[in-house]
Subunit: 329 residues, 2 copies
């Protein structure tokens, strides 16, 4: 490239209803099991990539601060993969920010690598299908594959790099679910997900969790497509419990729950027994994603806010696909 090419993309984080935990192939990030998620509207990572004709000069500005640490190294390693696979030469100047704070109970790696992939590819003047973008984003962070398509999304395991991508099976307006996130801790988690995925196979229970994932995913997809909240709630909580069962029986064990986490989980089960359409799901952290129908969202939000262990509450509806915001080339 002899000129400067720049592109800006936005992508939403997503919340998995059928969890990704553990890889069949760590290098390619081929997951051990298929997963299913919903993008989170209103929350996004926005990333601008500018390709410069200059070797070995990748730069990252993250949330308005130059970063040369862990985040930079992970981004630069991912750029090396993109350069190799797409025959891009030169260095990338990257400016990225999240409109949601760290420690808000929302993982930022999915939206970050989805936005980075779309911006980097577009800035290089390359047109790729959504499938190809999802496939590439997966190499940066597994769950980023799911932040490329919009709405309700399934990520296929695949047997090879090209087969492992995510696609939408229902648009954002299909079902007005709300993810109400109860933040019980804003401490940064001590085990990053990448290391957690590698530990999955140290649990005697992982194989059984993986073996049932396709069936749970099919049940969850059917429940979403038919807007059957009762079945949806059962399989979503069950799948979350299964992932945390694997985590806490890994060696060494991973305990992500804090005392208020357990309190909120018990409350959610009780609220549902009392008639509210709400269920919980937890990622690799202590905060609780309370998924409810829009009609019950305000009540759930108020109930959560009243609990002493809950320090913050935020809400998101189903979000759209990763998209370009502005291109200067």
């Amino acid at each position: 490239m002899s000129e400067t090419h720049s592109a800006t993309a936005r992508a939403h984080p997503n919340i998995a209803f059928i969890k990704y935990w553990g890889n069949a192939d760590d290098n390619l990030r081929l997951p051990a099991n298929p997963s299913l998620s919903m993008n989170l509207d209103g929350l996004y990572t926005q990333t601008t990539v500018t390709w410069l004709f200059e070797p070995n000069a990748d730069r990252l500005i993250l949330n308005r601060q130059p970063d040369t640490g862990t985040a930079f190294r992970r981004v630069s390693a991912f750029l090396n993969i993109l350069r190799a696979r797409l025959n891009i030469t030169g260095s990338a100047q990257i400016e990225s920010f999240n409109n949601f704070p760290m420690g808000a109970g929302i993982a930022s790696s999915a939206s970050s690598f989805a936005a980075l992939t779309l911006a980097a590819v577009s800035a290089a003047g390359i047109q790729l299908s959504e499938r190809a973008l999802s496939t590439l984003a997966r190499l940066g962070s597994g769950s980023a594959a799911r932040s490329i398509p919009g709405g309700f999304v399934e990520w296929f395991t695949g047997q090879s790099h090209d087969e492992s991508f995510a696609e939408s099976f229902a648009p954002p307006d299909h079902w007005d679910l709300v993810d109400i996130i109860a933040v019980v801790s804003s401490e940064h988690k001590t085990v990053v997900s990448q290391e957690g995925h590698r530990s999955a196979n140290t649990s005697d229970l992982q194989a059984a969790r993986v073996a049932g994932a396709a069936e749970r995913l099919a049940a969850c997809k059917t429940a979403i497509l038919s807007r059957d909240f009762k079945r949806f709630a059962e399989v979503v909580e069950h799948d979350s419990n299964l992932m945390h069962a694997v985590m806490m029986t890994s060696r060494p064990p991973l305990f992500y729950w804090l005392p208020p986490t357990l309190e909120v989980m018990a409350r959610v089960r009780q609220w549902r027994a009392d008639g509210l359409k709400v269920c919980y799901t937890l990622d690799a952290g202590p905060n609780i994603h309370c998924i409810c129908v829009k009609n019950d969202a305000e009540q759930v939000r108020q109930e959560l806010s009243a609990l002493s262990g809950v320090v913050d509450v935020r809400a998101a509806l189903p979000g759209g696909p990763a998209a370009l915001v502005d291109v200067n080339g």
Copy 2:
């Protein structure tokens, strides 16, 4: 029998280090996996059985109150089994009490059925081996099989009634472990263990837990025999985590942990990392059994007492076998 025969027996409760959860045969209470436990000294059930030549007149006085409810029905059903297997005729008058309160974090069914078995058999003038007593006690409550022998005990799964019994592999004075029980709730549990055992197979994870149990038991036994606290702690906590992983992934899920339970578990792991010889194990309830070496017991007790979620703390050393207290015949 033409005369009155009476006997009084005491048995200790036990704490399992390798857990019993789920049956291969519900009627015979043949367990899905072998288990390993330690009797708890100082705590006991004391039971007097008097056989009367009078049909259909079983009576139970439990903790000084006549009982005609759930406890009576379970005891009477067990007496029917004893009558059939040992050719005893007549009715039993039973007086039983625990020297520890309900809701003290200690299951009483093991000590109750162990004491009842020994008293009932002795009162009928029958001499049985420890193995035969353990086998019979199992029919009343699975873990009662382990409260017949003394000290550190292994319960073999067996393929038939006669093969499924517990025996001691080390006497009480082999290792001065202390079980310091942190009581976080004195509410009576809503799911009794019997029903829980039946739910074990509804978890996709039970088969994997069971498959590894013999290996964990061998590791735990070796650690006890060599007084290797580090290995002991790892396998004991792991096995407890595995059982609770199965419970919380059963359908419907069983969550026995309360918020302070999680807090104590995290503290215990931290105290061990800081050098105290302590680990945790949890039965089907929210209270935490903190197993430590005698030298560290006082510090563990003080640390536990200082936690706001802990409402009571009690301690027990390794206990002896079920034994007769007094016989009038």
